[in-house]
Subunit: 400 residues, 2 copies
């Protein structure tokens, strides 16, 4: 039995080869870039007018002019007009190119326009106001986004603006989730009195879908040859195989033996943690196998604490987000195991993250998962007592 | 010009009728339930064995027996066997039904098995251990999830376990996002020197997709009749119309006039905020129109601060999540406007949410949005100076 720290170290020590694919911009929301993004023009690409009003030469104001004739209109999307006379101005719209020869834009709010002439308080005008000069933010050929960045809505906007309409992104792992156990039946059937519905694969599929992975799922009974054929097929057709059930001490827990027979190397079996102790982890070439306990709370915890970090790392992201929360209330536990306590996360008005324990009925009570947002990790080898106000790492499994 | 508080109050005062639809479980990740979920059986549905080991009658231990003959094996998924003799036990697997007549399960870790007989330290055994009794967590017919709950992975697992394979959820709004402006061209073209690519609709579409809305998008030039036909069509075919550009003081800012002509009632135009001042909002029957400024930072802020809350409320969710953050550094601003400062959010090891200003090049510098995670709201009518360590509400626009 190894510690949580050793387990996560072994898991993150296994790195996949990391493929790349190119997709249309509309298909890469939430993915991770696999190339730097470079501007194909200056940003802004021209001297851009920032307010509706008039454009003029500041030297006209300097020369003492107080009244300027409006000579014409310059719309957004038009080629720039030319301003030669320091006594005239061009009416101009936000987003338009600043007319050639003009260097200052005065917004309507500062103008009085009568009979085609405009006046304003010359004291309030600064040369160059309301113009964003060409290349102010970036020059052509500059990097605006590094490879390895998660594509959020702002990144999508930037991609569109620089014409990055096809995007190289890191490929997601192909994942196969397999439930095992003769007691499990499909969700649209009514179980017999000694059966239950197969729910783990649904919870885990949804969890992976928040990571944009569309996992393939299947089921295997507790029969050695069935398990062997099923796992072999999964190993051949996926990068990551997740199994629930069949990894403990039971007479029909064939999964570890079959994996060994199929050439999957065991990297560990059992972690000093509650829940989720019988977790088995191994590899075959660049394939990764996570074999989780069948208990719904255990398999869910293992996916949140171990599989998601591995998947994040597999696309070059930080495996962990550090969410340190302040425990509200106290908690007794077995000091020889790292304990994962279900908590509801809340924000205080003082900018603090509070963790309210939702222990429910213990690790058998999977219904209780819906009452919490996260697992709070209370390390082993301490006193077996967690005090109110202590700080712990938390692993959220949904928005909070 | 109204305040941010007045604006949000007006927006959230408009409530849509709220339709409901029924979908397969695999299609409702992230949606909101529109009915209570009720168990169709006790949970657990039978006296469930929690460990691999043997099941026996505790009265056998009470009678002083120290050695129990293993009479047979009970697998998970099998009908329960019957135990009559207090001197024998049944080998039993996790997930199996507890044999009829047995009341205690002793795990392999506590057993010594020799020649078909098992012994153990009787002092360590509690009656009823390792059995989850039928109905311990819920009885048949009890509500396990309320209508109005966001369906996360844990909820999906619960749905599967109770056979909720089709799920009633609140319908999402049909949204049409329209860009306007003659200066805009498609993202796969090379703009002329006075043009730019249309990026706002891409950023806003992605933002709404994080809310599971697949928005329809289109573009209209600065021509009154084109705008009229386009907006009329959008109003007829969607619940929410989002327009970017054409709402300011320019000569070709036709959007407010056309909306009026189409019978859309203006509820406000202009908010005392920076960026995003020219924001226009109105309704026509149960249709809602958000007309945003064309500036990318402005339109993005308005969507995060006003449209997402409205959409959340439209499916019965809390419009706001309260994220109070601690400003790191100081900031000067115009005290007559509410200022939205771009910030990067970070967690301290003390469980605090820290907001690090990323002002960039101001509201024209949309590239800077990728350097931040959130807008920090600094209210108007204060000193115009925000001190280091002050607390402010933040509106995140991506995971942080």
């Amino acid at each position: 039995m190894i510690s949580v720290e050793e387990a996560i170290k072994i898991i993150l020590g296994v790195t996949p080869k990391g493929n790349i694919e190119e997709l249309p911009l509309a298909a890469v929301a939430g993915r991770v870039t696999a190339s730097d993004w470079v501007t194909d023009a200056d940003i802004p690409p021209f001297d851009r007018v920032m307010m509706d009003g008039v454009a003029l030469k500041y030297e006209g104001i300097n020369s003492g002019n107080v009244k300027f004739k409006i000579s014409e209109i310059q719309r957004a999307g038009e080629e720039p007009k030319i301003l030669t006379d320091e006594n005239t101005c061009i009416e101009i719209m936000t987003g338009a190119v600043c007319p050639i020869g003009a260097d200052t834009v005065i917004q309507y709010e500062q103008l009085t326009i009568v009979n085609g002439f405009c006046t304003f308080d010359t004291e309030k005008i600064r040369q160059g106001q309301n113009i964003q000069w060409k290349g102010r933010d970036k020059n052509k050929g500059e990097v605006v986004l590094k490879s390895g960045t998660l594509i959020g809505p702002a990144e999508t906007g930037v991609a569109a603006s620089i014409g990055q309409h096809r995007v190289k992104v890191k490929s997601l792992a192909r994942v196969h989730i397999i439930s095992t156990g003769d007691e499990l039946v499909e969700i649209y059937t009514t179980p017999k009195p000694h059966q239950i519905r197969r729910s783990n694969v649904y919870a885990l599929s949804h969890l992976l879908s928040t990571f944009l992975i569309n996992a393939f799922t299947s089921h295997l009974g507790d029969d050695i040859s069935e398990i062997k054929i099923g796992l072999q097929n999964a190993l051949e057709n996926s990068d990551v195989v997740i199994i629930t059930g069949g990894v403990s001490k039971g007479k029909f827990d064939h999964v570890p033996d079959v994996l060994k027979e199929l050439g999957v190397e065991k990297l560990f079996h059992k972690i000093a943690q509650k829940p989720g102790k019988p977790f088995w982890f191994g590899t075959k070439g660049d394939k990764v196998v996570f074999a989780l306990p069948g208990n719904p709370v255990s398999s869910y915890l293992c996916a949140v604490r171990y599989i998601l970090p591995w998947l994040r790392q597999s696309i070059g992201q930080d495996p962990f987000k550090s969410y340190t929360a302040i425990l509200q209330g106290e908690f007794n536990y077995n000091p020889s195991l790292t304990h994962f306590l279900q908590v509801k996360l809340e924000w205080s008005d003082a900018g603090e993250l509070l963790a309210i324990p939702q222990p429910g009925g213990g690790s058998g009570d999977y219904l209780n998962l819906v009452n919490a947002d996260a697992f709070l990790e209370i390390p082993a080898n301490s006193s077996g007592f967690a005090k109110d106000g202590m700080l712990f790492k938390t692993f959220p499994y949904r928005e909070f």
